[in-house]
Symmetry: C2
Subunit: 216 residues, 2 copies
DNA sequence: TATAAAGTTTAGCCATGGCTAAACTGAAAA
DNA sequence: TTTTCAGTTTAGCCATGGCTAAACTTTATA
């Protein structure tokens, strides 16, 4: 089993990928200094988990990707499990899973997946990778890219930013909710939606983080 | 929050205490070398968690004891939670809780305790310390110290030795089971019990690890 | 095209928590 | 009382994963 730090680096590279990720970008995502990233990326390259081109960036090898997917699977299974059993709020799930994911054995992972009936989405709507890294489909598109006056269903919301999370919560936006975009602000990209007969204005930055599906 | 290593040292000192614990004893319990223990004990003393007399031994301060009880509480709540929700076998619980206990936030600890209805015993019958370190009573006595021909109820079984655990499991010895000691081998201390109308011979070493209560 | 700025890497430091080998203590045996 | 030896501590090493400061690339700007 890899250390917490290594798992965190692989997970961040996966989230920021598949493009080459710069030292600075990775550093700010992990909340460490760029010099620490360079050092660690060299070690990961040595271990065959990462490809690194100096002054250009780093990306996961297939092996690194599989390991990252394993961490993501544990994270999303834990979120689903904690939500189902303890009824934790969507806003608490991420932080708890973030710490527990590194301490989950394969056996416990299997037991949880089995208990939950091998779910394909976590409570934020994010796809849960399979035990061998298979990432379930998904043609979900950013709400910010959708046409007006079509019936849309919210599929995925972000989990890492607690400010965004609580805004979404209080505005009733979570997976499964249906909405229609009624107008778009040409100037700043903000959109006006109808949700459950309520009018809600969503800023473009948030709209780009919410993924929806479009009825045929 | 203290590191995994520090929490492990405190927990071991608690389990081996309250007497002064020698360097060697602590080292073998933690599976590290004595020199590593001496170094760490000095740090813990510096931190006010441990009292150390050179060449004599170490014991927990009140602060160290409270921290140890907090780790034990998390461990035993996790065992209970994993048993109830996932139905894990008593033999798997210990190892999983051992890793997860260090990653459990106060909030999640509270949520689990609440979900379980603030249990006072874990699946091995061990008392679960309260949120402020209160250790629920218990006049349970080692099976090896009990008189013959009295009705006894198994209250606590050990959790750390998987060989002992599986022997107990296959012989139907777990908390709640009633038994009677019919005879004792004067030579090696082994005892012959009647459990559920079956005869079971229990070695003295195992009998000293099983705690029972005696009906008035 | 030369230079400034932004981003990356290197060098060298620190704390943590292991290790081995050697020195030291104290209690039991000679 | 002296010696022995088991147990403890010290000294000094190592890997991990952070950090800062300084050097180096690359890219963009003048």
């Amino acid at each position: 089993m890899y250390s917490v730090a290594i798992e965190d680096y692989l997970k961040s590279l996966w989230k920021l990928g598949p493009k080459d990720v710069g030292t600075q970008e990775l550093a700010s995502h992990l909340d460490v200094k760029p010099a620490s990233v360079t050092k660690m990326v060299l070690r990961l390259t040595e271990m065959g988990l990462v490809d690194h081109t100096p002054y250009k960036g780093a990306s996961l090898t297939r092996q690194g990707e599989l390991e990252a997917l394993s961490v993501v699977r544990r994270h999303r299974l834990l979120e689903t499990f904690l939500s189902q059993t303890l009824g934790l709020g969507r806003d608490q799930l991420h932080a708890e899973a973030e710490r527990l994911e590194h301490a989950l054995s394969k056996e416990l992972e299997d037991a949880i997946a089995n208990y939950l009936g091998n779910p394909v989405r976590d409570p934020h709507g994010h796809p849960i990778p399979g035990p061998n890294g298979e990432l379930p489909g998904g043609f979900d598109i950013p709400l910010s890219d959708c046409p007006l006056n079509k019936s849309l269903t919210v599929m995925q919301i972000p989990d890492y930013d607690s400010l965004v999370s609580s805004w979404l919560e209080t505005n009733g936006i979570f997976p499964g909710v249906k909405l229609i975009i009624e107008s778009r602000d040409d100037f700043d990209g903000g959109i006006n939606c109808k949700i459950d007969n309520n009018e809600v204005r969503i800023s473009s930055s948030i709209a780009s983080l919410v993924k929806v599906s479009q009825e045929d």
